[in-house]
Amino acid sequence: MILVKDLSIERSNKTIFNNVNLSLGSGNIILLKGKNGSGKTTLLKTIVNIIDPSSGSIYWKGKPLKKNLYDFYNHTTYIADKTSSLSKLTVQDNIKIWKKIFLSKINNSQIESILKTLKLDNYLNQKVSSLSFGETKKLEFLRLIIEDKKIWILDEPLSSLDDESIDIIGQTFQDHRSKEGSIIFSSHQNSDIGVTEEIRL
Amino acid sequence: MMFLINPNKFNKAADFLIKPILVLSIILFSLGLLFSFYLSPEDYQQGSTVRIMYVHVPSAWLALLTYAIMTLYSIAALAFRIPFGFIINTAVAPIGGIFTLICIISGSFWGKPMWGTWWVWDARLTSVAILFIIYLVIIFMNLSFENRVVREKVVAIFVLVGSINLPIVKFSVDWWNTLHQPATISKLSKPNIDPSMMIPLIIMTFAFAMIGLVIAILRIKTEIISRKSNLG
């Protein structure tokens, strides 16, 4: 669905990467690998049209991305390397806000079961600022379920998580794949999540 | 005319032009000083203080002109994606600031004997003071952003928004009843100033413009070089 053609990015006279080609069909899981500073985050940001590429083009459903940007956004969840939950509010409030913002149709029992598997169900009435970093990161993944979109674009989803959580996320990825969703994520570490394609930057 | 929007062509044109302009500015400035101090008459009301006008008026005009140039280049840079406009913005802002400062200081030297005070809260004076503050903010913005791409665009946007002040400065003497005298020289009517005073005024204006141009060329060239080597 997403087609990236000969993408190059140059910022302040420095080439970050050259001629990247990528195509994301339904049921694909693409892993972007590379060292720190190799441009993984930049590439993901370019795909969601935050950064303008110096050359090359991106297509969404066969049309240039810029032409039907908001249709693309309607089908995409993007999780940056930061955590977007509001630290002053409780976990429950955050979930409530997300459900409202994304006009989610997920019912509460579903969310509760996910919270249980993520081991966050005890923190429901605690403020997000009292959670550990790994836990806030896990909370962030709840957005994937709440938003319920076809395409997931994730920036470093596996960093600072324990093996157990990585297994859960791998499970979620496979579930999403079986529902014909597609995922593109970046990582600098090796992991055995069922990746269909690997791109080195 | 491509040298007005292309850094490389500007460099070539500047190398060719800078020496004549420098010589011209020296000649004009000494000629202007000569005229304004010895060859122009004293005003029958203002006496010798009228000579302050030969510094005050040219610097005021050039302060406005500099800002107008910055506005035009900001539009060019933002709307037509001509990066040379950003270079002009960073290079020219301090020059405009200095002209405004000269204008304010010489004006208050004139105001002390004429109006009996250094400063009056009059529309023209206040709007010029605001122009000076706007120049200062532009200079500080250039100093305080770390990312160059963000900095130059933000400065250009600020220049555009701040250009609202320009017509206020220009027409403040017509719109409000002010202590400051209305413009004596304008295109629409015949100037009501004596030629003996008109000549030094015009010479001084060109001299100031040439001096400003020399400094501007040097600053723009350094800016181009520092951008090429990624220093700024």
Binding site: K45, S87, K88, I97 | F140, V149, G162
Partner: protein, 223 residues
């Protein structure tokens, strides 16, 4: 309909956020009142003088205290990535700027508006001027919100000199101050002055989404 729902939920989020940061807003108001006290201490408690310059003091302090809250305008949302999420949720940057401006007006300026009558009692401003003050402040504070949006979006990437944002707001608020103080002192000219104030509001309202949207996109791009 979906779009409208999203706007409503945007404001629900802002409401929750401001409710949890209620002490910030209250601190602003305390700053406002303390400054009034300090003004009165430095001028002296002469009733005549105070009522003469009271309106000017009120406007200056409202401007100063609303610039205090500028830091919160976009900075938090920018740093935790919510700005990007809101954009991906289907709002253009310009529209985010408009929404945020109204949110600032609702949650920061309205509390000030409510505290004006008390300040008027302290500053000995007569009751029949209060209505003029109210009208001028409600227009003026919306202008200040727009200016705040522009300047704080400009300053997102500026880590060294945050005060610059306040200076920008103050420069552009000069005409607002001139005309809104004029409204109260010249009651016979009320209509023409309020029209000018309204004109300024429309101008900044037109510039705001353009300038702020551009700055927001720029900062996200280079972050």
């Amino acid at each position: 309909m979906k779009f409208l729902n999203k706007i409503v939920s945007f404001y629900y989020r802002e409401y929750k956020l401001n409710l949890s940061g209620l002490q910030d807003i209250l601190t602003n108001i305390i700053f406002f009142f303390i400054s009034i006290f300090i003004f009165i201490f430095s001028i002296g408690p002469d009733r005549e003088t105070i009522s003469l310059i009271g309106v000017g003091i009120l406007w200056t302090l409202l401007l100063l205290s609303s610039t205090l809250s500028l830091r919160k305008f976009y900075q938090d949302d920018f740093e935790n990535g919510n700005l990007l999420i809101t954009h991906l949720n289907g709002f253009s940057f310009g529209f985010i700027a408009i929404l945020k401006t109204f949110s600032h007006f609702l949650f920061v300026q309205i509390p000030f508006l409510l505290s004006i009558p008390i300040a008027c009692i302290l500053l000995n401003i007569v009751n029949d001027k209060l209505i003029y003050l109210f009208i001028s402040f409600s227009i003026g504070s919306l202008i200040l919100s727009c200016l705040g949006s522009i300047s704080s979006s400009m300053n997102l990437m500026n880590q060294r000199n945050f005060l610059l944002g306040s200076v920008i707001v103050m420069i552009f608020s000069i005409p607002v101050i001139i005309f809104s103080v004029g409204i109260i002192n010249m009651e016979e000219n009320f209509n023409s002055l309020i029209n000018i104030l309204f004109g300024i509001l429309l101008i900044v309202f037109a510039i705001n989404p353009w300038a702020s949207g551009l700055c927001l996109k720029l900062s996200l791009e280079n972050n």
